[in-house]
Symmetry: C2
Subunit: 274 residues, 2 copies
C-alpha cells in the first residue's frame, strides 16, 4: 500500500455517503443487501457521484449554505430514486464550509434570510416533508414572503423544525449527534463494521424522526426499543432488519447523521479501510 494522500473535503463527503449506504446490515435502510423497490443502492451511489461539483464549490470558493444545498439537490435530482441525501446535505455543507464541527457552528450562526429562501427552493425540488408546519408550507408561495417579513434566517428555519426533525436539531444543538456518531466510530475502531455498530447505537437511543413522520411517534419509539434489544442480545439483528424492511420502517434521519459522523471521523483519522 502506498502512502495515503489526504482526501479533499469534497472527497471526504463522498466517501461518507458511499460508506454509509454500503454498510450492512442497517435495519430498515437501503444497504448493500437491501433495496426498496423505488430507491436502490445505485440511486444512493449515483447521488454520491453527482453531488461532487457542489461539494467542490463549497470547498474551493465557499459560498452560501442555502444555495449550495439547492445546487446539490438540483445535481442529484436526475434519477427516479427520489431524494436520497437531502438531510445529509443539510449537515454536510456547514461541515465542508466550516471544516469541522466548530466551523460548522459558525456557518450556522452566519446564515441569513437569503439562505432560508434558497433552502425553501431546494426543499420544493424534493419530495421530502420536514414536519408539518401550519404557516410555513414549502408549496405555498406566500411562505417566502413570510420568511422575508419575519426576517427568518436558515438557522431560524431549522430551529422552527428542530422539535420534529433530528437533522434540523443538529443545527440548534451544535451537531451533538454528529459528534456522538464520530466518537462511536472511533470507539468501535477502524473498518466498516464500526459503521453498523455506531448506527445501531444511535438507533437504540434516539427515536428516528423520519420514522416518526411516516409512521408516528409510537413506531419510532418501538423501533428504538427493538434496536436496544438487539444490542442487549435479546433480538436477532437480521430478523429486526427484515421486519423493518417489510414494514417500510427506515431510519433515514439517523442515516443522515451517520453520514455527517463519518465525515467528521474521517477528518479525525478514522480508517475506513482495514
Amino acid at each position: 500500500m502506498r502512502a495515503r494522500p489526504s482526501m479533499s473535503r469534497a472527497e471526504r463527503a463522498q466517501m461518507a455517503m458511499m460508506l454509509e449506504v454500503c454498510a450492512y446490515p442497517k435495519p430498515g435502510n437501503v444497504d448493500r443487501c437491501h433495496d426498496y423497490s423505488d430507491t436502490r443502492l445505485e440511486h444512493f451511489l449515483a447521488s454520491t457521484i453527482f453531488a461532487r461539483p457542489a461539494f467542490d464549490a463549497a470547498e474551493r470558493t465557499g459560498g452560501r449554505v442555502g444555495s449550495l444545498i439547492r445546487e446539490a439537490v438540483m445535481l442529484t435530482n436526475n434519477h427516479s430514486g427520489g431524494n436520497t441525501h437531502f438531510g445529509a446535505f443539510i449537515l454536510l455543507f456547514p461541515l465542508i464550509l466550516g471544516g469541522d464541527i466548530e466551523g460548522a457552528r459558525r456557518i450556522v450562526a452566519g446564515t441569513d434570510v437569503a439562505d432560508a429562501i434558497e433552502f425553501y427552493a431546494a426543499f420544493g425540488l424534493t419530495e421530502v416533508r420536514m414536519g408539518k408546519s401550519d404557516d410555513l408550507d414549502v408549496n405555498d408561495p406566500t411562505s417566502v414572503a413570510a420568511i422575508r417579513e419575519r426576517g427568518m434566517t436558515l438557522a431560524d428555519i431549522m430551529a422552527y423544525s428542530a422539535n420534529r426533525d433530528m437533522v434540523a436539531r443538529e443545527w440548534t444543538n451544535g451537531f451533538a449527534l454528529t459528534r456522538r456518531c464520530a466518537d462511536l466510530l472511533h470507539e468501535h475502531g477502524p473498518g466498516r463494521q464500526a459503521i453498523v455498530a455506531a448506527f445501531l447505537d444511535l438507533l437504540a437511543t434516539e427515536p428516528d424522526t423520519f420514522i416518526a413522520k411516516k409512521h408516528g411517534d409510537t413506531v419510532a419509539e418501538q423501533t428504538m426499543r427493538c434496536a436496544a434489544g438487539v444490542l442487549r442480545g435479546e433480538h436477532d439483528l437480521a430478523a429486526f432488519d427484515a421486519e423493518c424492511v417489510r414494514d417500510g420502517i427506515n431510519p433515514g434521519s439517523i442515516a443522515d447523521i451517520t453520514i455527517a459522523g463519518l465525515y467528521v471521523a474521517l477528518g479525525e483519522g478514522w480508517q475506513w479501510d482495514s
Copy 2:
C-alpha cells in the same frame, strides 16, 4: 422524476464504474454480494470517487492519454485494495478524450513515445502484470531506454501486449469488444439486469485474459465454456459464481471491458435507472 440533465463525460465514466461493480451476480468478481478478502466493494467505489479529477482533466482540458492514466492510478492508489481499475482506465481515457469509439480510435492513433513512458510509470505504481514480456519489463529501468530507442508509441506497447491481454487488444481492434458490450446492453434493454446479461454473454464467448494470466489458458477456456453452459441453462448461475469465487477465478478483463461498454452505452442513451 425531473428531466435528467445530461451527464458529463467524467460522470459517465464514474457511473460506468459504479454500475459495473454493483451489478450482480457477476461470476468470480467483486459485486454487490461478494468481496475478496483483500479487495472489497468499497475499494472499487472509493476508486470511482478518487478518479474524478483525472476524468475532469481529460474532459475539460484534454491532455495526453499516458499522463492521464498515470494521474488516475496515482489518485486511486490510496487504499489497501490493490489496483482496481487499471484496465478500465486504459479504455476510459481514450473514450473520454475522443468522446466516443470513433474518437477513441483517433486518440490511440495519435499516441507517442512520451505516452508510452508515462504509461510505464503508471504501470510501475500498480501490482498488475500485463503479460510476460521478455525485454520490456516495467520494473527494469532500461525498458524506458528501449522504448525511446525503438521509438515505441503507447499504441505500439498495446499491440505488443494484445496477444495476451484483451484490454490492450481493444486498442488494436478499434474497441471491438467495447462496441459489442454496448450493443449487448442496448439489446438487453434498460436497467441493471442488462449489465449482468451482457457480462455473461462476453464471458461465454471470450476467454478472459486476466484469468489466463493467473490460472493459465485452460482455466480461462473452461470458465468460458461454463458461462456458455449457464446461458444454455445447463449450469446454475449461483453455483458457477460460488465456484469461481472459491477458486479465485475472477474475469477482471471482461469487467474492464464492461465498464467501457457501459460508458459507450450511457452516451448512446441506454438507461441505467429503470
